[in-house]
Amino acid sequence: MGCCCNDKASDLSLLEPVFEHYKGINGSLIAILQQAQEIYGYLPVDVIYHIAEETGVAPAKVMGVATFYTQFRLKPVGKYLIMLCQGTACHVNGSELIAAAIKDELGIVDGETTDDGLFSLKHVACLGCCSLSPVMMINGETYGSLTPDKTKTILRELKSKAGEES
């Protein structure tokens, strides 16, 4: 397995308030990892080592927790994280066609990020909006009753919005 060190060091001081908040509270490793991901956008390896040091949990165990739960990312994601629901109702109502539309429009599949760093795609378990299947969530906003065309329109709108902001 190749080395997974990141190219640049993370600003570990950003974690101080998190450690302060959870000091003395047993069983808060997952919550700490969730806060860390909020701060850095993902879990860089040096952050994992730092959390291990501060909490007294062995690095292998911290890594074990980070890789067990699907919420945690060990690689950075794009500006827009597309979470495509893979629930039963979405599957029955054509989530595969939406995945194909995303591939068609952005060229990415589950787990990939576009070259310009704008979009990342992640297949997720049920989002709980089954009556509006197929459904996707992008940066906390839910889009339902999707069709391949509607999906492409949404992505194009986000692309142009990102273009205007930069």
């Binding site: 927790v65 029955v92 009556s131």
Partner: protein
């Protein structure tokens, strides 16, 4: 008037936020009638979202459906002129309204009616009366458990275990340090009943949990909510804050000796954490790997202390039971299954959403009377109950009653409430593969049989849907199913084979068609189908050729077109655009 916008996650996804913003804008500019624009949560009629309700005092005078922000002005005018005929065209039809009218709502009693961010509205609807009754009339812990026992309440998370039994066991365990936990992981894909309760009536959940904590002697209550429910977490956090401020949570609640604090722990994306011992491991900050039972959580749970874990819907029935009496709850349902059950009715159904009905109704009544039957009037094929732990029930068993025993006898389970309806275009082998794909991915890996068994079953099903099924595959699947059931430590592994077993039991002919004839009767499995154009129906409009990504369709305009099977990638675009229904998929 009170204008109430339905803002559960579904409503917001359908555009309710935009409707609300537009209404706010209009009423802020001028509000001659002094009307109020406010919110409620999931009304449960997801097929009609966004929904806006108009109230005159406490009376619902009009329910508006499929509301867009363009309709906001119409609503504004109707309210100001007190002339509701102006919104007749967006008013719910009597037929659609029957969806709710046929239901009996207990767990969902306040959902879609009150504002979930307002503790006062909860109190005005009888909220916290059950808790007050217990703490001010001297009901003992045993009195409370006896009432739950009388009600016959069984766990609504899927296992259907007696709630009173669990509470009694936790109460009898030695020790002062006890925990009351709510399993809000709701991992079954296709289920959103618990999300609706937390987003729509968080105080009901809090009250039910407080009653449970009192009964077992717990001073700390924890709600484990899945990460994929951000709105539910926000609303519950707000409710906990308000309940604490009003003295319903914290020290010496309502002046009694009972103290209890509550907190939320967000999950991090692991279906297995819906299993109670895996959930406990996760609460302790570890990988969610199940523990051996016995000892049960009632004896040794969170930090190895006595703990009681129940599902959201189970707790959502508790306040009603205490307020109205266990006998009133037991008066509904069947001898084996008392009370009501909430279902998330989805899939190929005309009217999909949340359905709460007394146990004892048939599947046919739910799907046809309440759900309106199959979309586009296609043929019903199967209904999936119980998610990845359940099974597919065929048309021949539609008159099965909703009852733990009756559903168990079919090979499926009651489950947490996910009810996904399928029609003639759904491939049952594909569905079995879908569920195995899910459980294989979600298996924690601790047990050899589950870890490797699910993977092997998935490989076999994968070959079958690709057209590479072999003689003996079904027998091999059956053998693997029994091995995984026997060798798995927890419910995930023990029930993972259920979808495969019910598919073999009820749809064996479909599996055999895939294996021996290399044919997919439902026309879904890509490698086993061909697309062609009905030369009699095609009018040569060329719409399909324009949409074809593989350039596989050719022809002259106004003459029937043809598909080159060698180039066709079976994306289905042509079928979607054809208005003559001329695309044949076989």
């Amino acid at each position: 008037m009170k204008i109430v916008v339905g803002e559960g996650s579904c409503g917001l996804a359908a555009g309710a936020g935009k409707v609300h913003a537009k209404l706010d804008e209009l009423f802020a500019a001028a509000n001659p009638t002094g009307s109020v624009v406010t919110i409620t949560s999931c009304i449960g009629m997801c097929f009609l979202e966004p929904i806006v309700d108009l109230y005159d005092g406490d009376a619902l005078v009009r329910r508006l459906v499929h509301v867009t922000d363009a309709d906001a002005e119409k609503i504004y005018n109707a309210v100001n002129a007190n002339d509701l005929s102006l919104v007749d065209d967006i008013t719910i039809t009597a037929e659609d309204a029957s969806f709710l009218e046929q239901q009996t709502r207990i767990a969902l009693c306040n959902c879609g009616i009150i504002n979930p961010m307002s503790i006062d509205e909860y109190i005005a609807h009888g909220g916290y009366e059950a808790l007050k009754k217990i703490l001010t009339t001297g009901m003992t812990q045993d009195d409370v458990i006896d009432e739950i026992d009388k009600s016959g309440l069984k766990g609504r998370g899927g296992a259907g275990f007696s709630t009173a039994f669990k509470w009694r066991a936790a109460k009898s365990s030695e020790g002062e340090e006890k925990y009351l936990i709510c399993n809000a992981d709701e991992g079954d894909p296709g289920a959103f009943m618990d999300r609706a309760v937390i987003e729509g009536d968080p105080h009901n959940l809090i009250e039910g949990m407080l009653i449970g904590a009192y009964a077992i002697g717990a001073k700390e209550a924890i709600v484990y909510v899945r990460a994929e429910y951000p709105l539910a977490i926000v609303r519950l956090e707000n409710a906990i804050k308000d309940a604490t401020a009003r003295g319903f949570l914290g020290d010496n609640i309502l002046g009694s000796n009972f103290s209890c604090k509550m907190r939320i722990k967000a999950g991090a994306g692991a279906f297995v954490c819906g299993e109670e011992t895996a959930l406990i491991e996760s609460l302790e900050g570890k990988r969610g790997m199940p523990r051996l039972k016995p000892p049960f959580p009632a004896q040794s749970g969170f930090w190895f202390k006595p703990s009681n874990i129940n599902n959201v819907e189970t707790y959502a029935n508790v306040a009603w039971i205490i307020a109205n009496g266990g006998d009133a709850f037991a008066a509904m349902g069947t001898p084996d299954s008392k009370g009501t059950k909430v279902f998330a009715l989805t899939g190929k159904i005309k009217r999909g959403g949340l359905v709460e009905i007394p146990m004892g109704k048939t599947l046919r009544e739910v799907i046809y009377d309440i759900g309106g039957g199959i979309r586009n009037d296609k043929e019903f094929k199967a209904v999936q109950l119980g998610g990845p732990s359940g099974g597919c029930i065929p048309a021949s068993l539609l008159d099965t009653i909703i009852d733990y025993k009756a559903l168990g006898a079919t090979g499926a389970i009651m489950g947490s409430g996910g009810m996904v309806v399928m029609d003639e275009t759904t491939c049952m082998v594909g569905m079995a593969k879908f569920f195995l794909d899910f459980t294989a991915k979600e298996s924690c890996g601790k047990c050899v049989h589950c870890r490797i068994g699910t993977k092997r079953m998935l490989e076999i099903l994968g070959r079958i849907v690709e057209g590479e099924g072999q003689e003996g595959d079904i027998e091999k699947l059956e053998e693997l199913c029994m091995a995984v059931k026997d060798g798995a430590l927890c419910g995930l592994g023990q029930t993972a084979p259920n979808p495969v077993l019910t598919t073999i039991r009820y749809f064996r002919d479909e599996m055999e068609a895939h294996i021996t004839e290399k044919r997919c009767p439902a026309g879904e499995c890509r490698n086993l189908i061909t697309y062609s154009i009905d030369q009699d129906k095609c009018i040569g409009c060329s719409a399909c050729a324009k949409k074809c990504p593989a350039d596989a369709i050719s022809g002259e305009v106004k003459s029937p077109f043809v598909i080159d099977a060698d180039k066709c990638v079976k994306c289905g675009n042509c079928k979607t655009v054809c208005r003559q229904d001329a695309i044949i998929v076989k």
